[in-house]
């Protein structure tokens, strides 16, 4: 049963609202009447055991998938029934960092970061160069534009992918497990980068992460998903203080290295 651990006082307005979202693949019901609010200019982290629907939810939020039923409202626009052209207009409001970075391996880092500007804006060449260099500097990749993704470490690839997601100055940033495959030192560095980027660009950040509880240090709000539902949702303090046996078991399982979340069954 979903529990909202937040209070309504002092809440920033919602950038994204998800209502009664359902999605199944074949006979498997992945999202079950899921409700969620993403607050403006805050970092909302979605956590939960493997297979709980985190990534599928994110693919609905970034409009890669359409739900079977339910609604998603982004900045006041209900997006689940929009046509392709209208969807593209909504997509231009957000940037996305994929789990594996999804950098184009045939292009240099500079060309990767410049790509959205070249393809979707009328900026002149020198304006694009300035914007790309500025964004690369913001993610700590100053002077690395000539390198190819294959010549970079996993952490640097994430930074480059983050730069590409930020280069059009989106209002919303979506991150799918941004620290997967990184060692603890690089994980901490990427977390710090996400926090500083959110503040510098005043972004609404939606992040799916399995780095529990480390990721809570940079999060404003947490949504805990279980069996395709929002089981717990609120500020980090509220969620951590909630006397919820399922969430406690999840935290204990993560601390013991239990990735599959089997202990949460039932």
């Amino acid at each position: 049963m979903a529990t909202n651990a937040s209070t309504s006082n002092g809440m920033p307005p919602n950038e994204i609202e998800v209502r009664d979202l359902c999605r199944r693949f074949g006979r498997q019901e992945v999202l079950r009447h899921l409700d969620l609010e993403i607050a403006q200019a805050q970092i909302t982290t979605i956590v939960g055991p493997s297979g709980c629907g985190k990534t599928v939810l994110l693919k609905h939020l970034n409009l890669l998938l359409r739900p079977d039923s339910g609604t998603i409202t982004i900045e006041g626009v209900e997006v689940t029934r929009l046509g392709n052209r209208a969807l593209d207009a909504v997509r231009e409001k957000f940037g996305m960092l994929f789990q594996a970075g999804a950098l184009f391996d045939s292009m240099s880092v500079f060309d990767n970061v410049a790509f959205p500007l070249v393809e979707k804006t009328n900026l002149k060449s020198d304006e694009i160069t300035a914007r790309v260099n500025e964004t690369l500097a913001a993610v700590g990749l100053d002077g690395m534009g000539d390198k190819y993704p294959s010549e970079m470490s996993g952490g640097m690839q994430k930074r480059a992918a983050l730069a590409r997601a930020l280069v059009r100055r989106p209002r919303i940033l979506m991150l799918d497990e941004p620290t997967t495959g990184l060692d603890p030192t690089r994980t901490g560095a990427i977390h710090e980068l996400i926090r500083s980027t959110q503040k510098n660009f005043d972004l609404t950040v939606v992040m799916v992460s399995h780095d529990v509880p480390a990721v809570f240090q940079i999060s404003d709000r947490v949504a805990f998903l279980n069996h395709g539902e929002t089981h717990l949702h609120g500020t980090v303090e509220e969620v951590m203080a909630a006397e919820d046996a399922v969430f406690k078991r999840f935290l204990a399982g993560r601390a013991a290295g239990d990735d599959d979340g089997a202990s949460l069954a039932g």
């Binding site: 970034n62 409009l63 890669l64 392709n84 969807l87 593209d88 207009a89 997509r91 231009e92 957000f94 996305m96 994929f98 789990q99 594996a100 999804a102 950098l103 184009f104 391996d105 790509f115 959205p116 393809e119 979707k120």
Partner: protein, 258 residues
């Protein structure tokens, strides 16, 4: 299994088959349609023409030369028995222009560029690069597939022509240079016995084969399962299905245009 269960399973297979076929055909329609719709990307068109066309010229030339040489050798030996060695040029040219040129050129490009294309698109799908395009509000079929389709349509007839010309000279070198057939009748026979209809048949075939190879290889790569085995399976299926369709349509077009 109960009868109802069996019927349900057969029904599901039929529906899946029809759905897949529908996706396959829609993929072709959209990839052709997007060539004509903005935004136009001449830079991508030229890049794909270079990869599919220009970078295949050496291979096509090599295969064309050997094919012509084999035709010159075997053709001379056969025709010489009937005292018709003077028809060698006509035999080599008609075989190449109507049949072997378009078919072998298409098979070679499917093996070289088509397989690479399926692997590249499959790998892009597996590493979420295709999703990244969609999220950036860029139509992935228009960006990735349509330029390849256009390049196939432009490149295949040109490659086939190169194959034919080199093959005819390959037949000349062996038939006339090595086997001793008369030089004059070789080319005069071609000029007098081959007409524009023969050339048109070959070019129509190469055009259709270009669409088939690009369609199949892009579709298989674009819809590859998002894992390493999915990419390798897509690559194999792309080349096998392209080859089968090339040979099937070779007969169909030949039967229609004969």
């Amino acid at each position: 299994m109960s009868i109802a269960g069996l019927i349900e399973r057969i029904g599901a297979l039929v529906i899946d088959g029809i759905t897949d076929l529908g996706d396959f055909v829609l993929f072709l329609i959209y990839s052709l349609l997007y060539i004509f719709l903005p935004p136009y990307k001449p830079r991508l068109w030229i890049r794909q023409i270079r990869i599919i066309g220009a970078e295949s010229i050496l291979l096509i030339g090599l295969i064309g030369a050997f094919t012509g040489m084999v035709l010159g050798l075997q053709g001379y030996n056969t025709l010489h028995r009937f005292g018709a060695a003077g028809a060698l040029g006509t035999l080599v040219a008609l075989a190449l222009v109507r049949e072997l040129g378009p078919v072998l050129a298409a098979l070679m490009v499917a093996a070289r560029a088509g397989s690479a294309m399926a692997a590249e698109l499959g790998s892009m799908q597996a590493t979420e690069q295709v999703d990244a395009l969609t999220v950036m509000a860029i139509n992935p079929v228009q960006y990735l597939v349509s330029p390849r389709m256009l390049a196939g349509i432009v490149s295949f007839p040109l490659l086939t022509t190169i194959f034919d010309v080199i093959g005819i000279y390959g037949g000349f070198v062996v038939g006339v240079g090595l086997m001793g057939a008369s030089k004059g009748p070789y080319f005069s026979g071609i000029a007098s016995n081959m007409d524009s209809h023969d050339i048109a048949i070959g070019l129509w075939k190469s055009l259709v084969f270009g669409v088939i190879v690009m369609w199949v290889c892009c579709y298989k790569g674009y819809n590859a399962e998002r894992m390493a085995t999915g990419v390798s399976r897509a690559t194999t299926e792309a080349v096998v299905l392209s080859s089968v369709l090339i040979l099937a349509f070779d007969y169909i077009i030949g039967a229609i245009l004969i």
